[in-house]
């Protein structure tokens, strides 16, 4: 089966309608809603924070829905929930806590209550450091570009189909 970009866009029209950067509290509420099933590993506040961070990394734009619509937080939550590596699990809890910690340090409020500009500034600061941001980005892109939205809508990938006759490309000679 192939999902065309058009079909996928229609299916995710609601996500597309969202502003480019969701304002804090409202975004968190939407995230909690989006996670129709309760997170398996993260607490609800942790999950909402992760969902917002993933969307900041790969936001919805005019071309395609972002990480939130692609369910990236749920994917990461699922992988952590079944993991047998306590160190890895702990590093995610600690990483999210540190994001909130930095926000409190800079703005005296948790990350999700910071303004969109403040959130971007905080993430920019984290991106400049070695540490959690790399892990966060790695798993966000992994989740996004292996999702239906990532493959079909954003990347408009055309392969994984039975081709008939001549294949695409140029003859060597």
């Amino acid at each position: 089966m192939t999902v065309t970009r058009r079909e996928m866009l229609a299916a995710t029209a609601a996500a597309l309608a969202a502003p480019l950067v969701s304002p804090g509290a409202a975004g968190a509420a939407r995230a909690a809603q989006a996670a129709s099933v309760a997170p398996k590993f993260f607490t609800a506040p942790e999950f909402a924070l992760l969902d917002q961070l993933s969307e900041l990394i790969i936001p919805t734009d005019e071309h395609s829905p972002g990480a939130r619509a692609a369910g990236v937080a749920a994917y990461i939550d699922g992988r952590l929930a079944e993991s047998l590596e306590p160190d890895w699990q702990a590093s995610w809890r600690a990483g999210l806590a540190a994001v909130d910690g930095l926000s409190r340090e800079r703005h005296r409020k948790p990350f999700l209550e910071a303004t969109p500009d403040q959130q971007v500034a905080l993430l920019t600061e984290l991106a400049a450091q070695d540490g959690f941001f790399g892990e966060l980005k790695s798993w966000t892109v992994r989740g996004y570009y292996t999702s239906k939205i990532g493959i079909h809508v954003d990347q408009e990938y055309k392969g994984n189909v039975y081709q008939r006759g001549e294949f695409a490309g140029y003859d060597a000679t």
């Binding site: 991106a127 990347q155 392969g159 490309g169």
Partner: protein, 597 residues
């Protein structure tokens, strides 16, 4: 859809009371070919495979979308694939003390590990010791041919007569003219795709329809042409036109799953030993296959010293059995065949079977890999996305070093494998800095605009590069394991430097901006092209096998896999392994008919 959907032949009852004409140990490219040739000549053959006969289509699931897999392709928790770091900073056995339930070699890597978990061996059950080595083993019917990289190349007299050319090592006891007819047979029987280039150092095959190049690859090809160099479409061991004589294999439909996973093709357009060789051989009625059979000794007749059969364990029941045969053919892989010879000690053969020369396990060689370059094709940035990966491979740049020139730093040569264009996952994503809207757009705009290539270079065979049996460590079945004494030398390191510098020059000359270079040499073994532990030669004092892969010491013992190779060449070995096995087994069948065996 005209896909072939013929069920594999049913498993058979194995009669171990009878003496077979030949018993073959191993079912990969070499064992499969031996079975094909001998059964088509009417010999009654028993094949022993250490691993299972897998429902391979269910393992490979070539067209499964990542999002239809619960872990996007990854194996379940508790499974671990070794990383480059682990191979480098630790010593074998790599799985020793690991907290994971299963440990596998690096193959599988990024989101493909669930598709190979039953194909690769669990390193916990199959330890080895000694120097660092990334040893990839596939214990199942067909072995590594189930997931091979498909690049199907011929060797030339630059390889067979390499010593005559530069003075190093030994010439093979055969020349290209001896092997050429058998390369042709392999091409026609199994199918190969490519373009004729008329190169003396990379002879053309009997090609079916080639795959096409994309924009960036054509650009590089045209640039290289100006300096007399060649970039040719991937010469793939894939049937693109179909094979009328084989009902188990479909032709290629360009589905593009080939590079997304560790390999494997669930419609078998890519050659694999079971559908290409073993099932048709079973259909002759002359081949019996016994999976789950771990060979641990070649048995010899006490009086004559000749091989009389193979002792093996059933991997499930651990019961011991003997298979009796007039000829024993080892095709267990370069390293496992050497191990089996070393394990087969007897009063007549105290150093291991066929080892009067002391060369079994020695002259071990392979390909060095890792170094490569990535370029950005500016014309493609921001262009609509196209279908570029619907083909079994990208391109190959054949060897160009030390043909007419003499490099100051190293002898022999290397070739590049590479590709350009779109793939399902935008591999450049982690190298794209930042986050947010600009990041997302940059990933999208640059997708498909890269070209990358990595080199495979010839590793020189040296007597001191060898494997032997570890005196203490045993595998899960109580069989002594291999101990490695093997490291790259200065020739490989100098060659690796040239791979990066020359790759950069090639891209720049084509007007392609170099955006990444990798000068890291991957761990020994990474190429999965291990060769040369029981080399052929005319002198029984310095070689293990004659030109027909027959033991100098034990005439009814053949070793038909990569262990027979005298040098590694820089061309991928699978097609040569099969051409040589065909030649040797045809010779064997002739001798058999004459009553000489």
């Amino acid at each position: 859809m005209t896909l072939v959907r013929v069920a594999p032949p049913l498993s058979q009852d194995v009669d171990l009371s009878k003496t077979y004409d030949a018993v073959i140990v191993g079912s990969g490219a070499a064992g499969g070919m031996a079975a094909h040739v001998l059964t088509s000549r009417g010999l009654k053959v028993l094949m022993l495979e250490a691993g299972k006969k897998l429902p391979i289509e269910q393992e490979l699931r070539s067209m499964q979308w990542p999002y239809d897999h619960p872990r996007r392709g990854d194996a379940p928790p508790g499974s671990h694939h070794l990383s480059f770091n682990e191979y480098t900073i630790r010593k074998p056995p790599y799985a020793k003390g690991a907290a994971f339930k299963h440990v596998y070699s690096y193959v599988g890597g990024w989101s493909g590990s669930d598709y190979v978990k039953n194909i690769l061996v669990d390193e916990k059950d199959h330890p080895y010791t000694g120097t660092n080595y990334a040893w990839v083993r596939a214990r199942c019917l067909g072995g590594k041919t189930n997931i091979w990289g498909r690049l199907a190349l011929r060797l030339s007299d630059y390889d067979f007569k390499a010593k005559s050319h530069d003075g190093y090592g030994e010439d093979w006891p055969i020349s290209y003219a001896d092997v050429e007819p058998y390369y042709d047979k392999v091409d026609l029987y199994l199918g190969i795709s490519g373009v004729k280039e008329n190169l003396p150092h990379l002879p053309d095959s009997r090609f079916q329809r080639p795959s096409k190049l994309n924009f960036g690859e054509v650009k590089l090809r045209q640039s290289l042409k100006k300096t007399g160099q060649v970039l040719t479409p991937y010469r793939a061991g894939v049937t693109t036109d179909g094979l009328k004589h084989n009902r188990y294999r479909s032709k290629c439909y360009g589905r593009g799953a080939c590079d997304r996973r560790p390999g494997g093709c669930d419609i078998h357009a890519v050659f694999d030993s079971p559908t290409g060789l073993i099932y048709p051989a079973m259909d002759t009625g002359n081949l019996t296959v016994r999976p789950n059979s771990i060979a641990h000794e070649v048995l010899v007749d006490k009086n004559t010293g000749r091989a009389r059969g193979v002792a093996f364990l059933d991997s499930a029941t651990r019961k011991s059995y003997e298979a009796k045969a007039k000829v024993v053919i080892l095709a267990a892989s370069t390293l496992e065949s050497a191990r089996l010879l070393l394990l087969s000690r007897s009063p007549q053969h105290p150093n291991g079977l066929g080892n009067s020369s002391g060369h079994v396990g020695h002259n071990f060689c392979e390909h060095v890999m890792g170094p490569g370059v990535t370029g950005l094709i500016k014309e493609l940035v921001g262009k609509p996305h196209t279908l570029d990966d619907g083909r079994p491979g990208g391109f190959y740049i054949p060897r160009f070093r030390n043909l007419k020139d003499r490099q100051p730093g190293f002898i022999r040569g290397y070739g590049y494998e590479g590709n350009s264009g779109h793939s399902m996952f935008p591999a450049h994503v982690m190298d794209t800095p930042g986050f947010g809207g600009p990041f997302k757009k940059a990933v999208r705009d640059h997708a498909g605009a890269f070209i990358s290539m990595g080199a495979f270079g010839e590793v020189l065979p040296r007597y001191e590069s060898h494997v032997d049996l570890d005196p203490a460590v045993k595998d899960a079945w109580g069989i002594p394991v291999l101990r490695f004494h093997y490291q790259f030398s200065d020739n490989e390191r100098k060659m690796a430097e040239d791979m990066v510098a020359t790759g950069r020059e090639m891209l720049e000359a084509a007007g392609i901006e170099v955006v990444g270079t990798d000068d890291k040499v991957l761990t020994e073994g990474w190429s999965i092209h291990e060769l040369g532990t029981a080399r052929m030669g005319n002198d029984p004092k310095t070689s293990v096998l004659n030109q027909f892969q027959q033991s100098h010491d034990v005439p009814n013992l053949l070793v038909v896999d990569g262990s027979s190779h005298v040098s590694a060449s820089c061309q991928n070995p699978t097609w040569t392994i099969m051409a040589l096995a065909w030649r040797s087994c045809e010779h064997l069948a002739d001798e058999f008919r004459k009553g000489n065996v």
